[in-house]
Subunit: 469 residues, 2 copies
């Protein structure tokens, strides 16, 4: 029949249902076949009758099987409207939404070389296991919603951690959000009116995500991102012409290029903001992985024109959704209003776990260890990729991402498709840009790209490409 895994996080009832659907999809069980009786399957799998009958009931509701009273369960014909296999959620059809959707679904790939996350094993001890059991029980039985701005405990400890980065903020300026994406979504709603201009870097991850937005919301304009920050001449020309309300940037370990904005450029960006009257959103979700430079725009500006945003999915656990904004004081109240209207408030549970984790002494050790490990893997990856003719900008020396330029003779589109078939996830440079300048680039995550499966794949395919060229 099929096997079930008692150690899996997947409920038994779902394992059974998924296994049955898989058999039907593989034509091992065909329309009109009778399923094993509930009792027989339960005995065979060593599970309760209730579990099997729940799985069957689910399949009946999904119109995959039907119950014929007194006779058992039978496989239904495939619904012509396609509702039958709707069970498995289909990735959105648009290129960008589809990419993000797949990037979030670990079941789609064995080797997520272009993922934005660290491997689970790197984060296994990030949240102290000894603490959570007690915390969860007291938090849940306390049964009060989180304050709209986030808990005072969490905001205080975030303010404390920020001071270690030379960012001086009061906890009252901090609004906790459902991750960094949500933080930017709140800022956008407060700061941009329809028709306003938003300036973003090209290439950038943010551009990828912004492509999801309908045009009606605001206009997006771009400035080229070079390895030490935005191209300032181009930037001044843009802000002069379009007078954007916001400039969105990653100062440190920029995604995808890996570069840091130099302090001198940082100062000039703030001067431009003053001269042309725009605000800055500094996205620092990867900043904790930056070992060398610590100067952020927020340190220089001290809440005159800069919003700072970050989150904990990258360095603590993607299973938590928790980010925050530090805002100039005048905008805090409106951010809280936006949050209440959008999600009312956050999860006390997630807020409590993060607050305790940040307070725990091991957090700093965890970050130090991550940084070191990222650096090691980065060096290793550059070495072997370099031998295959892949090129990198010398100035991008830190962080999670390699912005990898492949030799001109490599058909990257084909390579990405072949990788997909081998269950390897690769993100093309074109996703991060509005230009064609990065069609020969891939964004690679150094914590995944030394996986032997990717190395073998690339060895095999780049050699054959070169041979056939």
């Amino acid at each position: 029949m099929f096997e079930i895994d008692r150690n899996s996080k997947v409920l038994l009832v779902d394992q059974i249902r998924t296994a049955i659907i898989a058999r039907i999809e593989a034509f091992q069980w065909v329309q009109g076949s009778r399923l094993p009786s509930v009792r027989a399957l339960a005995r065979q799998l060593g599970v309760s009758i209730f579990t099997v009958s729940s799985a069957y009931e689910d399949l009946v509701a999904q119109r995959v099987i039907e119950s014929r009273p007194g006779a058992g369960y039978y496989i239904l014909p495939t619904d012509p409207a396609g509702t039958k296999h709707l069970e498995k959620m289909v990735p959105p059809s648009s290129l960008h939404a589809g990419f993000l959707y797949r990037a979030l679904d670990p079941s789609q790939y064995d080797t997520p070389v272009s993922s934005g996350y660290l491997p689970p094993s790197w984060l296994a001890d990030a949240v102290p296991a000894s603490v959570t059991g007690r915390l969860i029980r007291s938090t849940l039985s306390c049964s009060v919603p989180a304050p709209a701005a986030g808990s005072q405990e969490l905001r205080s400890v975030i303010a404390k951690k920020l001071r270690e980065l030379q960012i001086n903020a009061s906890s009252s300026q901090i609004v906790v959000s459902i991750g960094a994406t949500h933080a930017f979504s709140l800022i956008r709603n407060v700061m941009l009116e329809p028709g306003d201009y938003l300036l973003v870097e090209d290439p950038s991850y943010l551009l990828l995500q912004l492509k999801l937005i309908k045009d009606r919301d605001f206009n997006i304009i771009t400035v080229p991102r070079t390895v030490d920050g935005p191209d300032l001449e181009a930037m001044e020309a843009m802000v002069k012409e379009f007078r954007p309300k916001l400039f969105l940037t990653q100062t440190l370990v920029h995604n995808p290029t890996g570069g840091n904005t130099s302090p001198a450029k940082g100062f000039r960006i703030l001067s431009l903001a003053q001269k042309y009257d725009f605000h800055i959103v500094e996205d620092d979700i990867f900043g904790a992985l930056c070992a060398r430079q610590t100067l952020r725009l927020s340190s220089l500006d001290e809440w005159n024109r800069t919003f700072y945003l970050s989150g904990f999915s990258k360095v603590l656990s993607p299973a938590l959704r928790l980010g925050y904004v530090v805002a100039p004081p005048a905008f805090v109240e409106r951010l809280v209003e936006q949050k209440m209207y959008n999600v009312l408030c956050g999860s006390s549970l997630d807020e409590t776990i993060v607050a305790y984790t940040l307070e725990s002494g091991r957090y700093q050790h965890h970050l130090d260890a991550l940084r070191q490990r990222v650096m090691q893997e980065r060096t290793r990856a550059r070495e072997w990729l370099g031998k295959l003719g892949v090129e990198f900008d010398e100035g991008a020396a830190e962080g999670l991402f390699l912005w990898a330029r492949f030799p001109a003779q490599v058909d990257l589109r084909r390579l990405i498709e072949q990788a997909h078939d081998a269950r390897i996830f690769l993100a093309p440079g074109s996703l991060f840009s509005n230009t064609r300048d990065y069609d020969q680039y891939l964004r690679l995550n150094v914590s995944h790209c030394n996986d032997p499966r990717f190395r073998q794949f690339l060895d095999a395919h780049l050699c054959s490409e070169t041979a056939s060229a």
Copy 2:
């Protein structure tokens, strides 16, 4: 000095900081005073030096105190710009946002008579304590983000629970959200263009929240809500004239009126939707507390024109933020896209806890017990309030809320202010309506309103009102 509570959920460092601010605000410690040394205070409170110095450092960053090297810590003068006490987040100034903000902050009131939540003690056992410890550890160490639509486990078990309510949905139609508010925010973004009309009931909670929205988003029009559903004549006139895209309604145990839409009215609402081509959003967050009627619009319509939304903050724990939409299949993909752009994905932790809790056998018992308890408290509250001359609609016999009409001679505004001073939270009817028709109403939560403190307060104040009238 002051006391600290080791059993409190509040971090020691925050307890110390709050106690110091309280002393300064009460003028017990004045500008220029020297604080106890870190070592002395640590010894006195029996906490670590690290804890006290963290609290002091926080206060330095907040500019409440300053560190004079070699001399100790001193209290700073109050900052004229008011930044000093910004620490305590101020509720937003607009009436509606301020109300929601305070409703979420349990520290503001002792007796939350108009709260939207159940008392913590009623939910203490809702999430099985024996399960969570293990679950949290495996979920966090698994370290993968939740799928954009929500985990398959959770969506399957929600689909199963919905079938018990005679709502037949495939798990693929379910999009998990950050609570029910977020669910509606996603639907709104998918369904409404600027300039479109949204029809809501008056009175309703939704109206309260919608008042937060800027006008630019869409236009809000209202239909009077009577005890057995919307006034259908008025509704047809409105939809004929304005052609709204969406109608937002609570079929069962309507908030704040407490009534249910009759099945006959439900059928006629769906007929209107067909005739005038609009969609319906059925908000069912309180439906689980409804003991008698089970017919929802979603059961009748089966995903032709109806979005169903609900959540778990009310019946499981407000410390979790988890809701969902069941959408007509054609809109699922766009809802997932909206969610990815807004928050990327949800919290795996919260999703896992809810999925396991719903699967557990005790969930149904928990709901049954809640329903019974709500009913008992409702009966008790109506009895004593009735004796004070407070009136209720006979048709509203179920659910968490009493829509209480106070005698004409009671100055409700004054009563609410006096209650506020007594740390009793009362929500005026005017918050739930665009008309002046409910100025003499309060929304009362039956699970809080038999609190002796409220009873004494009302006894005292209504008698004096009557005497002075």
